[in-house]
Amino acid sequence: MIRNLPAKWDLEADVVSIGSGGGGLCAAITAHDNGASAVVLERSDQVGGVTAYSMGEVWIPGNHHAAALGIKDSAESGYRYIKGLSMGYGHDTAMLNQAVHAPVALKYFEDRIGLKMCAIRKLPDYYYPHVEDSLAEGRYLEALPFPAATLGEWQFKTRVSPHVPYSMTHDEIFDNGGLANMINWDFSVMSERLSKDERCAGPGLAAYFVKGVLDRKIPLLTGVNAEELVVDGSRVVGLRATRDGKDFFVKANRGVVIAVSSYERNPDFAKTLGHQLNPVSMVMPGIDGAHLRLAGQAGARVARVPDVSMLGFHVPGEEQEEGVPLWRGALPFLGLPHTVLVNRAGKRFSNEAFYRSVYFALDIIDGATQTHPNFPCWAVFDSQAREKYPFGSLMPGQEMPEELGTTADSIEALADKIGVDVHGLAATVAAFNGYCETGDDPEFKRGTFPWGALMCGDPTRKPNANLGPLLKPPFYAVQLHRMAGGGICAAGVVADHHCRAIGWDNKPIEGLYVAGNSVARLDNGALMQSGITNARGMTHGYLAGRHAAGNPSDLLQKEMDRLGL
């Protein structure tokens, strides 16, 4: 039993959101529109969170945009897709809850805050066409370009992303050859959008929600770091934050919503909860597990799903903010033609053109030797790749900086320089080049996932968007670092279908909600389908906001009755 009430409160609202990403902003907006007062607290000096760093894909089965295009889909089909791929590591009710509420939350924000979304054409589900209930297009949505000047003084306090080309829509990118073929993009569009500050992708998506909060005059406070919950017996009644080095007590009459993303910038949490050893990270330094410290105080339960590591690299001279090196994700570039990913033995170990194949292979432990056979690892490519494709921010044709990669005139010399088995690498490249001739990769099936062909390959390349031989010297190798999930993580706080935090006794904790990546991923289990995290943030915010404002959704019960569960 905790009782740590302050002598006086500095601020009071019915619903207090911690974190200004999708989850926190959506909870505040929904609470407000259901009659409660709200406030959003953000620790950094910019709002938008990782949501604003993201590619802005929002994956929602059964959404009305797909329906308008005549694409046949339903929330129920989406539920089956997720459930099948979750491998039993999720909770059925959590999966169904997300499935039924995501389309509703989407419509709600479109109607309420002027959010404008559209279906991304041609972007298939990860597992299309390999599993039932997968679709070739229609579930991925993105925001229409947002005119950031309408944010007024918040224009430059709303984050943009160093990771994604946020001046282009997916359709514009795909129409001009996809991510691989930047060389063909229409940069007059980029130029115009940058000049007018019209934001697409994650920066655009986040900006819509920031605008929704500002339009409602919901106080949005930056530089406020949530430190501990204030609990009155068994009920969470507020929190203690710090602001300008001083305590700042915020009273929450109806609920605190923790939406602070994950713990990936906390190496100890990353190791002990995510089993990731010293991962680098794409996200802001403030994503350090505050939800676990906060909710832990009130006895919230933590759960973990099978999780994976990504790969990243650092381009010299790039910083995220002063003194914080910028790490870029490598996965979009590994499945490009003329490129392979190899381990110390010089062997490929995954379908480089499908993120999820790389992820799991990376973290495998060989019990016989107690080693990670596939880590460290290297991206190896030839000068054809360098001439045609970007590698992170290294543009086609741009010279390889010495600090980033190793250059050699032959594959053997390259292997020797980087300390990879010379014969192993030579044999791997020879075999791979052979697959490129037939267009078929019998070992790892590169090019068999349409999603990977589009997002990790050169869609203009026939017959296989992900295959192209390594022939032309010089050859390059870039050693990759283990990278955390970009805010998506293994462990989080367990929540019920109203996003109330749950204790170890499986009972909801009064006055405590969680949203976004702070919530344990029991709604997708062993699966991570890109676009689902942004959809979760919106949906959780919607559910928590409604419940805290006294108007909880009853849709899950209705759906369970309908399905006879």
Partner: protein, 340 residues
């Protein structure tokens, strides 16, 4: 290719300006985010600059080559980014605008090269103009400080709690952060300049119109509220009216004008154009002098403002008409006008 041209008047003689400008290290120190300038030889230097764009801070090394030190009138230079396929160049052109004034024109260009040239230009474009603007603004202030033209009043001491003063203080803080190298701020140098432009232009316009109306009705007190302490007017041309007048003279002249032109100037404003720190007004007078002659001169005045106050006015009007009509009267009343 993206080009920018900035011109401005420095309240200092051309040789003093040259004294400052001939040192490339000084140029580098004026560029927002410039961390280091290594002089290689008389013509070449390597600048290390941190630029903020698209949510990241990037350190770029720029090789600057001054092709021609042709002082005091001209400097031609080219530059090249070390790791990115971006090149550019420009020139500095100075000319004498008066014994205490130098007209400076800075022409700059940037160009992407290679297969991704359009992307580099798209990325550079929104950065380029504000960066050039910030650079020229600093160049002017620094030189004026260097040669001892009275410094800008500190916004924090400007006393007024007006919205403008608050905006200006905020901008200054950001500016100091940029120049001083706080990265999360340098990140936004372009943005703050863009924003500053919008906020400022409208307010500046109002200040200038108030000033012209006060001048037209010989209301020195009101005119004075529009002027910075170190304000000066620079009447362009070559006749008796050409030259610089400072605060006291400006205010004194406006007050004394009543006696020369009892009707006031009666300005008929033809156009007002405001852009960032500058307001340009075209107007015509419709006045009668104290000896009954019409005095209908035509004017174009270029106002430069800082902190919501007029700092400088470049005046263009027909000096022949002014000399013909006003000079004889002034000679008569010379004692009434404070000396400049």
């Amino acid at each position: 290719m993206i080009e920018a041209e900035k011109s401005f008047v420095i309240g200092a003689p051309i040789d003093s300006v040259w004294d400052y400008v001939r040192d490339i290290g000084k140029w580098a120190s004026l560029l927002p985010g410039c961390r280091e300038c290594a002089i290689i030889d008389e013509h070449n230097s390597r600048w290390t600059i941190k630029v903020g764009a698209g949510g990241l801070v990037k350190t770029v090394n720029v090789l600057v080559c001054v092709e021609k030190w042709d002082g005091p009138e001209r400097v031609n230079f080219t530059y090249k980014l070390e790791s990115e396929p971006v090149v550019g160049g420009g020139c500095y052109i100075a000319s004498k605008a008066g014994p205490q004034a130098t007209d400076v024109r800075l022409q700059l260009r940037v160009e992407g090269s290679g297969p991704m040239a359009p992307m580099w230009e798209a990325v550079c474009k929104p950065l380029f103009n504000p960066l050039a603007g910030a650079f020229t603004e600093k160049l002017k202030t620094e030189i004026e400080q260097y040669v001892g033209v009275p410094a800008l009043p500190d916004a924090d001491n400007s006393g007024s709690g007006s919205v403008m003063a608050v905006v200006v203080r905020w901008l200054r803080k950001l500016w100091l952060a940029v120049a001083g190298g706080n990265q999360s701020q340098s990140l936004r140098s372009q943005e703050l300049l863009a924003n500053k432009d919008k906020v400022m232009s409208e307010q500046n316009k109002q200040v200038v119109l108030k000033f012209i109306n006060a001048m037209g009705s010989s209301d020195g007190a009101t005119a004075a509220t529009c002027l910075a302490q170190d304000a000066f007017t620079l009447a362009k041309g070559f006749g008796k009216f050409a030259g610089i007048r400072r605060y006291d003279t400006i205010v004194g002249t406006i007050d004394a004008f009543k006696q020369l032109v009892p009707t006031g100037l009666r300005p008929d404003i033809k156009s007002v154009t405001a852009e960032s720190d500058r307001v340009v007004v075209e107007f015509e007078g419709n006045a009668t002098t104290c000896d009954g002659k019409p005095y209908n001169n035509q004017y174009c005045m270029v106002f430069t403002l800082a902190d919501g106050k007029i700092k400088q006015v470049n005046e263009y009007f027909c000096t022949i008409l002014a000399e013909d009509v006003l000079w004889p009267l002034i000679e008569k009343m010379a004692d009434a006008i404070p000396q400049s």
